[in-house]
Subunit: 308 residues, 2 copies
């Protein structure tokens, strides 16, 4: 790559799926002069070292963020407040502090009070991921053609926002700037409630007395298996999402429940037209998502080889 680096030093606080993918993508694009990784767990540090995506790895937060131009919190959002507090006095003047958390108002609430004068807090959320976790799970293409949402609060330095925008574009993403509160509402419906109902139905299926777990597993190709992928996502990360986006999730869940009650009633009373009309409408949304490049057009996500 001939484009110049965006930052001399980037510190990744957390080296799981997202942190390690950012490192791979930074290397692919020549985006950072030095990539520092931090994790407080010795075992994770060794695993990250074995994969080898960072220029330096630290179990000291102070050492990791020293001289960093960009510091990215990439741990479960419930840890952000403590980390921000601990790193505050070690941050370089003019640095950008960002994150990759799935909620944004809670990040502003927990992190902003600890960010020193002269350091720019710009929360961010790349809408990308897989059901896998840990430093081995990352890959450079994760953010390609996905969206990254930045949620700077009013008065944030415009140049810093532009720089972070460039950074995410160079990682492969499209970038949108949004109010933190609106972000949390959008993600509640496009991500958080879908995860909740996936976790829920997998739990329901596991707890039945009339159908065995063996049957659920054998016959999962009827649709259930799709939900288990989402329900295999990192438990700590997702616990923290629900605890930190309570209001928006409960609001969207209320809408979901209301609509589900109407469907339940349609089934009980044999209202085939109501079912048919909904099932036709939803098909169009799938097509729009494929047209927007946000999913594959291949049958079964391409997991079944198709040879007509």
């Amino acid at each position: 790559m001939s484009a110049p680096t965006v930052f001399d030093k980037v510190a990744l606080i957390g080296v799981g799926l997202i942190g390690s993918s950012m490192a791979h993508a930074m290397r692919r694009g020549g985006i950072a002069g030095h990539i520092a990784g931090y994790t407080h767990r010795k075992e994770t540090l060794e695993r990250a070292r074995a994969v080898g995506f960072a220029d330096s790895l630290h179990d000291s937060l102070a050492a990791a963020v020293k001289d960093a131009d960009l510091v990215v919190l990439a741990t479960p959002v419930g840890t952000f407040g403590e980390l921000a507090k601990e790193m505050a006095s070690h941050l370089k003047q003019g640095a950008i502090v960002s994150d990759v958390g799935s909620v944004k108002t809670a990040v502003v609430r927990d992190v902003a009070p600890h960010v020193p004068q002269g350091v720019h807090l710009i929360p961010a959320h790349p809408i990308a991921g897989t059901e896998q976790s840990g430093p081995e799970a990352g890959f450079a293409e994760l953010f390609d053609n996905r969206w990254c949402i930045l949620t700077p609060v009013a008065g944030t330095d415009a140049h810093a926002v532009e720089t972070l925008k460039t950074f995410w574009q160079r990682l492969g993403s499209n970038v949108e700037v949004m109010d933190p509160k609106h972000h949390d509402l959008v993600l509640a419906i496009t991500s958080h409630v879908p995860h909740l109902i996936a976790y829920n139905i997998v739990g329901t299926a596991a707890d039945l007395e009339t159908v065995t777990e063996g049957e659920v597993i054998k016959f999962s190709a009827g649709g259930f298996r799709d939900f288990t992928r989402i329900a295999a996502s990192d438990p700590t990360m997702w616990r923290d999402v629900f605890l930190n986006n309570r209001e928006a999730v409960l609001e969207m869940l209320g809408r979901f429940n209301e609509d589900l009650s109407a469907l339940q009633r349609a089934i009980r009373w044999g209202d085939g037209d109501m079912l048919f009309n909904l099932f036709t409408r939803t098909r169009a949304i799938r097509r729009s998502i494929i047209d927007a490049g946000q999913d594959t057009a291949d049958a079964n996500f391409g997991r079944t080889k198709k040879t007509p």
Copy 2:
């Protein structure tokens, strides 16, 4: 292929995703001497002819089933009663009448009264499919390593059941024999309720005033897009499933709702342990499904290229 054919003539009543996939798989395995296809729609007939998976195509039910050793109903289940009635007098003595419907007690209820003495009714359900429909959507590998459930009623000729079992095994499937009522309960949780909640959340997302449809589409990679695949399944087929498996679907939906209320309460009251414990339990089920060969272990179903 050197194995002998299982049937001299097989009649596929319906040539959509499942019917055309059966034809491709029969040809791959040399399973049928002659494959006849039936559809009442001229346009579908032409499309099936263009793909070219059948030895003969008919818009006359009598002509399609004439001399057939196996007749397979592969249309939406709501049409089975009429079709069975119309074909009854044209069926060959000793023939097997089967189907591929997603519900089984309703099939026995609707079809059995029309099946003549000397003809064997053996309902069947291959647990395989994609979100795509029509004669172009089929492919030979669809049933490979998936399960097919046979639900013969008491007193069904054992030799006929064995023959149909062999047929599905030669198509690539594993075969299980089950009571129709139990089938409907198992599929309610592994397929029907998952489809219902996928259709439902896609509808909910489309109807919001606070989040635009454009936002839902752009940011769908957070989880929502997985649900849109299932919610793109054939509307007529799925209307008929819900109308014909009412009791089992409502029972399983009751369990789902009960569990979801508990999760909703845990979020409202900040019960992180309850969330964490569920999210950990569900991860194990994903692993079992992968170990059972019912889904890919690749991240994001393999739709994201992974190059670590």
